[in-house]
Amino acid sequence: MPLRSSATTGLKIVIVGGFGVGKTTMVKSVSEIRPLSTEETMTRAGIGVDDAQGVEAKSTTTVAFDFGRISLNDELVLYLFGAPGQERFWFLWDRLFSGTLGAVVLVDTRRLADSWYAIDRLEHHGTPFVVAHNQFGEPTHTLDQIRDALDLSGDVPLVACDARRRESSKAVLITLVNHLHALSSARQVTS
């Protein structure tokens, strides 16, 4: 789908989270253009390094970043950058975060600790974010339990999603945009 000529506002958004949580899937499901994907086959060299426990069916992994685009309405277009999950690619994150207005942290309750690094980095950068619980099958934890486990403050939105579904992923992004809007309105009131 070509970019509408009415598009006036572009927001750079990053999607972060641990290895195998569904970042690439989310960019692919929601993008209106052919997504750039840097997925590579996981090789035997990664056994013992890339822990696929809990996501044994995973056969590929992102080695640079994903890129996609979605127009939320006539004016607002989001440029989506999916970060790579494994530690050896974290050096890319600083560049990816530069110019970023907001982030989605994807979490998987089977591997919740994997998301701590992403949340720490975003807090350190002062980048606003929302947390999305990517549900693999029947949910086993409530959002409140996840909020407690992640020690998230009450003003960080936390939602459930299915990253494979376009409408669900889009709803997460709308939550983020609304959160950014609320933060910016609050700043205007206080200043």
């Binding site: 590579e40 086959t41 090789t43 990664g46 013992g48 056969s59 640079a64 050896r88 890319l92």
Partner: protein, 138 residues
């Protein structure tokens, strides 16, 4: 270290010796892990170079799909930075060969010698896919 690994290291050292201005050579898996490298490269820096090179190759593949003939075929990636050059070519299945050289190196010679090595021993420079459903906890 298996004897084939030692032979591979020796072949990589040999590549550096016969190619002026080259500093390091590394064989990496497509998912960004070091397989074999020359002695001058520390393990930490080999890990770093493996991750960088896999990312560059994957982005180059994206450029080929979008702007090439549609096959996604990739000959080599080359980066010229202040103080050096980085070359990456596809090796055997699932693997890439990377070489770091000084900035005065001759790109034609380096590319030629790298491709020559891959032609000779590419079938040994491989990183096969993991078995489906294979857990890393073995």
């Amino acid at each position: 270290m298996r004897s084939s690994d030692q032979e591979l290291s020796w072949l990589l050292e040999n590549l550096l010796q016969r190619t002026p201005q080259t500093r390091y050579a590394l064989v990496l898996s497509r998912d960004g892990l070091r397989l074999s490298h020359t002695a001058g490269l520390s393990v930490d820096r080999a890990d770093q170079l493996a991750a960088i090179a896999s990312g560059i190759q994957s982005l180059s593949y994206g450029a080929s799909v979008e702007f090439g003939d549609g096959t996604g075929g990739l000959r080599q990636s080359m980066t010229e930075f202040h103080g050096g050059l980085l070359f990456i070519v596809e090796a055997g299945e699932g693997a890439h060969l990377a070489v770091v050289a000084g900035e005065d190196a001759d790109p034609g010679v380096i590319g030629h010698n790298m491709n020559e090595l891959v032609e000779q021993i590419g079938e040994y420079l491989t990183a096969p896919p993991r078995e489906p459903q294979q857990s890393s906890r073995l």
